[in-house]
């Protein structure tokens, strides 16, 4: 558990794999969602084009220093989160930079990007950004609660905060997964997961056309490109944590891809089938449905 220089290229490799996988997977899921609506949907490579286009825009404006730094915070949060968590169990190569801290670090680092992004968006002075942030923060804090409870339940279950050890404890059989040993925690966590994916019914934060698109209203060009990059890294990083904590981790890349995809699909499934909650509705939903499960999970461990 110490730093070696070789970890840097290894981490970059992880990053590369995850970025590409994320770009393709999100496009693929968008395509699936389109097919649900009997549309063709975007080309599978559309995300790359959008990304290039946004990097390739010629002009941009800035509202100030924090506005400029916001996307940097955002992406640092995503990349950091990805790298603080081991991607592939049992692989020294893809344990990334997890020597720096344990599960708690990952959990709290989630907020790093959120905070920086919120600061940046707020400096734009657009009330729509601020409203979006309000909604986002309100909702995410409520969603974070069952998540924290579930995670803690798992930590208590395995009596460790080290992600690697938690994964290790789930090896051997599918029945060793937390999904089966502690189903309440997993259900609570998955409910929280829905809340943090910005998909219906929890997408009132962005609420396109209403406020116009929430926090990123003022972001464009390369700022937006950075945020799009984060948009593919961050959910994957989050799903990696879920995989590790609840679904037995991944011992190689194909399993990794599969599990990440399937977990991600859960929110897509729910998303295409449900309308949007207002913020206070979603807060209540998390507190009434998800939190008791989390509490039970902790009490019963």
């Amino acid at each position: 558990m110490e730093f070696e220089w070789i970890k840097i290229p290894y981490s970059l490799l992880t990053l590369f794999i995850v970025v590409n996988y994320g770009l393709l997977m999100t496009a693929f899921i968008a395509k699936i969602a389109a097919r649900v609506g009997r549309r063709h949907g975007i080309p599978i490579y559309q995300n790359y084009i959008d990304l290039i286009k946004n990097y390739g825009l010629r002009s941009s404006i800035t509202h100030g220093v924090m506005f400029y730094l916001g996307p940097v915070f955002r992406l640092s949060g995503g990349v950091g989160l990805l790298l603080f968590v081991p991607s592939i169990y049992g692989s020294e190569m893809f344990s990334n930079l997890s020597f720096a801290g344990d599960l708690i670090l990952a959990l709290y680092f989630i907020f790093f990007g959120t905070l920086g992004m919120a600061l940046g968006a707020a400096e734009s002075g657009s009330p729509h950004s601020a409203i979006g942030i309000t909604r986002g923060l309100s909702q995410v804090t409520a969603a974070e609660l069952p998540m924290a409870l579930a995670v803690f339940s798992v930590a208590l279950q395995y009596e460790t905060l080290s992600i690697t050890e938690i994964v290790a404890a789930q090896q051997g059989s599918v029945l060793n997964w937390t999904l089966f040993t502690n189903p309440l925690a997993v259900v609570a966590a998955m409910m929280a997961f829905l809340g943090s994916m910005m998909r219906p019914p929890f997408d009132v934060v962005l609420a396109p056309q209403e406020i116009p698109i929430g926090p990123p209203t003022e972001y464009h060009s390369s700022y937006l490109a950075l945020m799009q990059t984060n948009r593919v890294i961050f959910p994957v990083a989050k799903v990696v944590i879920y995989t590790n904590l609840f679904f037995g981790g991944a011992t190689n890349w194909p399993i990794f891809f599969l599990k990440v995809f399937l977990i991600y699909m859960v929110s897509a499934f729910v998303g295409v089938a449900f309308p949007r909650f207002r913020v206070e509705q979603s807060i209540r939903w998390f507190l009434i449905w998800a939190m008791p499960l989390g509490i039970l999970a902790i009490l019963l461990v």
Binding site: G41, I49, L57, I213
Partner: protein, 213 residues
């Protein structure tokens, strides 16, 4: 001049009075500049390809044409497969479809939105009204000639054109972009004075800065 834009004397918390001039203090006064292309032709071509394949439309419908755009999202037309999508904020859009007649009041908003988009940006005029006023040719309150006010890349004629015509228009626009001929934003910056003069001629209560960043 609207009351909220007039110069006003304000007293600071320390009791010292000073003047606030909203147009100067609250708005960036810089004029738009012509944005150079990328260093090399190849990169610019590559970017143009990406721009062409990723058309983000500003969700701003001005006339009857607004209703023609909705079907594009439906399974029947599904414009997404062409890399087209709608964005709710001008900052992130690069295609502005003027979808029908523009009253003077709407023109002001259209100009503001157009100027808030980032270079390069494209304008499509949809329907006869944008071309020559169409059935509103003698109206006291609609403009008859869009390209006097905004640099239009492409007109789609008809009253109203059907969604298929729009899809065809997108394809035409893509060709223009890939050919590097869709430089409306730079054109606008180059002929800024002329555009402004035209705009101010019809917009009698000009209550915003010359360029809305």
């Amino acid at each position: 001049m609207k009351e909220e834009l007039e110069k006003r004397i304000v007293k600071g918390p320390d009791g010292i009075e000073f003047e606030v001039e909203p147009l100067r203090d609250y708005y960036c006064e810089a004029a738009p500049t012509v944005m150079p292309q990328a260093y090399s032709k190849i990169i610019e071509g590559f970017f143009n390809w990406a721009r062409a394949e990723s058309l983000w439309i500003l969700g701003f419908g001005t006339g009857c044409g607004a209703i023609e755009m909705r079907p594009l999202m439906t399974p029947r037309f599904d414009a997404y497969r062409y890399g087209v999508q709608w964005r709710p904020t001008p900052r992130q859009s690069n295609l502005f479809i003027i979808s029908g007649y523009l009253s003077v009041k709407t023109l002001k908003r259209a100009i503001r939105s157009y100027e808030q988009m980032q270079n390069p940006k494209y304008v499509i005029g949809l329907g006869s009204c944008t071309i020559n006023g169409g059935m509103y040719w003698d109206s006291y309150n609609t403009i008859k000639c869009l390209d006097d006010y905004l640099p239009v890349d492409l007109y789609i004629a008809g009253c109203m054109p059907r969604p298929e015509a729009l899809l065809a228009g997108f394809e035409e626009l893509k060709k223009l972009i890939r050919a590097g001929k869709a430089e409306g934003a730079n054109q606008y910056a180059e002929n800024f004075e002329w555009y402004k003069a035209n705009q101010k001629k019809v917009i009698l209560d000009w209550d915003m800065p010359d360029y809305n960043w």
